[in-house]
Amino acid sequence: MLMVTIIWMSILDYLTGPINGLLKEFGGTSAIISFLNTQNVVASLAWINIWRHAGYNTLLFFAGLQAIPNDYYESAALDGANEWQLFRHITLPLLRPVTVFVLITSLIGSFQVFDSAMVISTPAGGPGGASRVIYWYITSLAFNQFKMGYAATVAVALFVVSMLIAWVQLRWFRADTSDIG
């Protein structure tokens, strides 16, 4: 993850990255976007983590798609459904367990972003820049300010918040029932 962040930092670089090079060719020198300044560093951090986890989530959705029996599509096509109706009324409801799993793991995992946040904020002025994630706060409390008890409290609070969010999502999506079979 560290190396991925460093490579993306060199791609998103203000002067020597290919994205800004393309923008410079098509739009002139004023069209360059600074991806790693204090306003945009959170979006860049999000993009790096999206890039990293997209393949895994695609694989999970693919496995979920394989589990849907073909008979549903055939009988719906016989009844005269077009592609959009097939997608909305057969695929999406039957993908509900996989969707719940992907959402919960993505949400809880995104609360725990730490290594890429530490690496990406080095040129933007240290972790005191705009990319202070909650894990940075916990480690800074514990190892810079030596308030170990307070840091443990923040960690427990993070745990409670993650558990609440996961519980809300499980209830909202009715993840204990499935429409297959």
């Binding site: 991925v4 490579i7 993306w8 060199s10 791609i11 670089d13 002067l15 020597t16 990255g17 290919p18 800004n20 090079g21 393309l22 410079k24 060719e25 890039w51 997209a54 393949g55 055939e74 096509a77 016989l78 592609e83």
Partner: protein, 118 residues
Amino acid sequence: MKTRALSHSGQNERPSKRRPNWGRILAWSILILWIAITLLPLWWVFRMAFSTTKDLLGNPSSLLPIHFTLDAFKRVFGLVDVNEIIIQGGNVQKLDFLLYFRNTFTVTTTIVFSGLVF
């Protein structure tokens, strides 16, 4: 019922052979774009490995390696002496890739064997 299903699917197959299916073209183009975005950092690393250090800063936006050269590889394997490194503009430190690889290999084999045996 079976023959009815067969004739129905035969009727569906005929139109999509003649005219281009725009939905399918759109889906494939999005997929190809995403594949390109996913492989971009890997290609970027290859490009940086095969370019000279000075030209990396000069031509930021070219996607191909600039002045295809193997100098960086020679330096990593420890085949380049200190003056050449200063000319190329790198950190003046002799690198020895085979030593690092041997260390990694030692650690890996130890971990794998311990995991299998214990």
